[in-house]
């Protein structure tokens, strides 16, 4: 016989026969014909039952008349263990009492002694086929149960109920989750179309009906958006109803299938997000107007300084000059000296006013954002400084190709102050060295300007970036009298969305670090004000 058309691996057969010669002969034939079949042998019913208990083989082939325990008793015991066991009786008896017993027990296959192998194989084939089919069926069944379980689980998780409507009869099927969405126990009421429609609030019922009718008429999917249902407990839920149609072979609509998605939580979450977004926007507006108010105040103040304050200062300057010119001959030397000193004070006031105006300009002006080669900017500043003081030997170390986004004019001013400071404070250093570089940290580039000059005491760090505050004495390092350099740098870096900080030690040099926003916003905080409009 040829190989079986199905896989029998894993199937076992227990063979019980007290005549050892016959047993070994039959076993050999079975092993030859079914190489994949696992074979257990026993010489009587008792041993056979023992082996059965141990291995639970799918098939049993047994002699009837045996010592210790006969085949019928053993078969009864086996059937008690597993009613599904397939048992073949091998018998010389044509005794009807045996046969009736055997039938009663559930033995359905017989082979008469002496064994005809053709017959043995034919019966074995048939049983094996049944076993294999049963196995397949069980596997299919298991998968079906599993996927139904998964579907139900998925429906429950997704709050997605499904239903179908048989068109000719008008009968319906509802999934368990649909019942749950309706707020009732699965299977607790018959799934009727009218009951289905009545779950929806009257206003939305028509929309659902229309979707179903549309699908049937057009033979196309249809949907009803956000229909409310009323649960028995009085709560309202919002459903998204999707409908599709299944056609018969002849193209006639046979079944409407639909899903009902409970989107109440989604809608509520959406609503919450909406409310939060509105709240956030409201706060942004509030913050912005606060910010606008303080910027406006700053501008008003700076306008006051640049216009209203300049007039009396100019007046004072004129009076000092008049004093100098007209009182030279009054005989009192003090007059001239006082007038000269007063004029110097006036010049200082004017410098401070200019510095203040510059500072407030950087804080509020609109940025022109472009690609800026910071390395090239620094190189230009360095060579400019070297030209102004050709006698000084300063070792400049400038990192190459540091491209940033920013306002070229403002960034140039910032770098001018930083490099200029380094230049100024290394004027008394033997081997002066000024470095511009960049450290790449995760997500950000930190630029730095480092020198080995005078440095500063870290206890003054808080004063460093504040305008009109200095940590060096007047006259020391050509201090210009206004001390807004680092405050200007600070303001420019802030405008570019960055941060600036410094490290230093007296006599050991200073390092200024700063970051820049990759894509800074050019925007002024509010519409540009026309300078001098109050003059007109």
């Amino acid at each position: 016989m040829g190989p079986l058309p199905y896989d029998i691996s894993g199937i076992a057969l227990l063979y019980i026969e007290d005549e050892s010669e016959a047993r070994s002969m039959v076993s050999k034939m079975l092993a030859m014909n079914y190489p994949k079949l696992k074979l257990y042998e026993a010489e009587n019913g008792a041993v056979g039952l023992e082996l059965y208990r141990e291995h639970l083989p799918e098939m049993v082939m047994t002699d009837i008349n045996m010592p210790v325990m006969d085949g019928i008793s053993m078969s009864r015991a086996i059937k008690a263990i597993n009613p599904e066991a397939s048992i073949i009786a091998v018998t010389a008896h044509s005794d009807t009492s045996y046969l009736l017993n055997a039938i009663e027990i559930g033995i359905h296959h017989y082979i008469l002694k002496p064994i005809n192998y053709q017959e043995l194989f034919s019966i074995t084939d048939k049983i094996l086929e049944q076993i294999v089919l049963k196995r397949l069926l069980a596997e299919q069944n298991r998968r079906l149960v599993e996927s139904e379980r998964q579907l139900a689980g998925a429906q429950r998780i997704a709050h997605l109920g499904s239903w179908q409507l048989d068109l000719p009869v008008g009968s319906m099927k509802w999934s368990d989750e649909l019942y749950r969405i309706f707020g009732i126990e699965p299977g607790s009421i018959p799934p009727a179309y009218q009951a289905f429609l009545e779950k929806f609030v009257p206003d939305d019922r028509k929309a659902v009906e229309k979707a179903i009718e549309d699908a049937e008429r057009s033979r196309q999917p249809a949907a009803a958006q956000f229909c409310d249902i009323l649960r028995p407990d009085g709560s309202l839920r919002t459903l998204q109803v999707e409908v599709d149609v299944i056609l018969t072979g002849a193209g006639v609509p046979a079944t409407i299938i639909g899903t009902s998605h409970d989107v109440t939580d989604l809608k509520q979450a959406e609503e919450k997000v909406h409310i939060l977004t509105e709240e956030l926007e409201r706060r942004v507006v509030q913050r912005t107007s606060l910010l606008q108010a303080s910027v406006k105040e700053l501008e008003t103040f700076s306008y006051f300084v640049s216009h209203d304050l300049r007039a009396p200062v100019a007046r004072l300057e004129g009076l000092c000059r008049a004093l100098l010119e007209d009182c030279g001959s009054c005989g009192n030397d003090g007059c001239k000296v006082y007038a000269e000193r007063a004029e110097r004070v006036v010049r200082q006031i004017k410098q401070i006013i200019d510095a203040f105006n510059n500072l407030s300009h950087f804080a509020t002006c609109k940025l022109v954002i472009e690609d800026v080669d910071l390395s090239a900017v620094v190189r230009g500043i360095a060579s400019g400084l070297q030209q102004t003081e050709p006698g000084r030997e300063v070792d400049f170390v400038i990192a190459r190709d540091r491209m940033v986004m920013g306002d070229p004019r403002l960034l140039h001013i910032a770098m001018e102050h930083l490099i200029g400071n380094a230049w100024k404070f290394t004027s008394k250093t033997a081997k002066a060295r000024i470095e511009f570089g960049c450290s790449e940290l995760p997500g950000t580039s930190v630029y730095f300007v480092r020198d080995n000059g005078a440095g500063f005491n870290m206890k003054y760090i808080d004063k460093l970036f504040k305008p009109f505050q200095t940590i060096h004495s007047p006259g020391e390092y050509n201090w210009n009298g206004t001390a807004i350099g680092l405050a200007t740098v600070h303001s420019i870096i802030l405008r570019h969305g960055g941060r600036i900080w410094a490290e230093g030690e007296t006599g050991q040099g200073a390092t200024f670090y700063f970051t820049l926003e990759e894509n800074p916003e050019p925007g002024k905080l509010y519409g540009s004000r026309v300078k001098g409009e109050d003059d007109l």
Binding site: R310, A311, R315, G318, V530, G532
Partner: protein, 131 residues
Amino acid sequence: MAESYIVLIEDNPDDAFLASRIIGKVCTDRIIIARDGEEASELLKIMAEDETYKQIRLVLLDLKLPKVSGIEVLQGIRASAVLQGLPVVVLTSSDNDIDQERCRELDVVDYIFKPMTADRLQRVLSRDKDA
């Protein structure tokens, strides 16, 4: 030859004093002072009618004036068929670019930041003479 005038339009007494002092150092012209824009406009209108405007050598104009601003006075001068050729010098203490631009458009002789010096006024008057 008839006496020539310098018209000083200035509201602040100290500034008026300082400007008069400088004018006195540079020339012997008679100084006529207007204390605000309105007064200046009326003064110039009268001088236009009685033709004394012809004796005006220079108008020194402060921009920040009560009532009528300096720019408006200047616009009035330039809009007048009679007065439009008057040499006007602006005196200011503000560094407003827009004001400067407008004054250039209105054809001022000079734009001087306060305090005015004798040298500066001298330069203006000599240029006026050359022209």
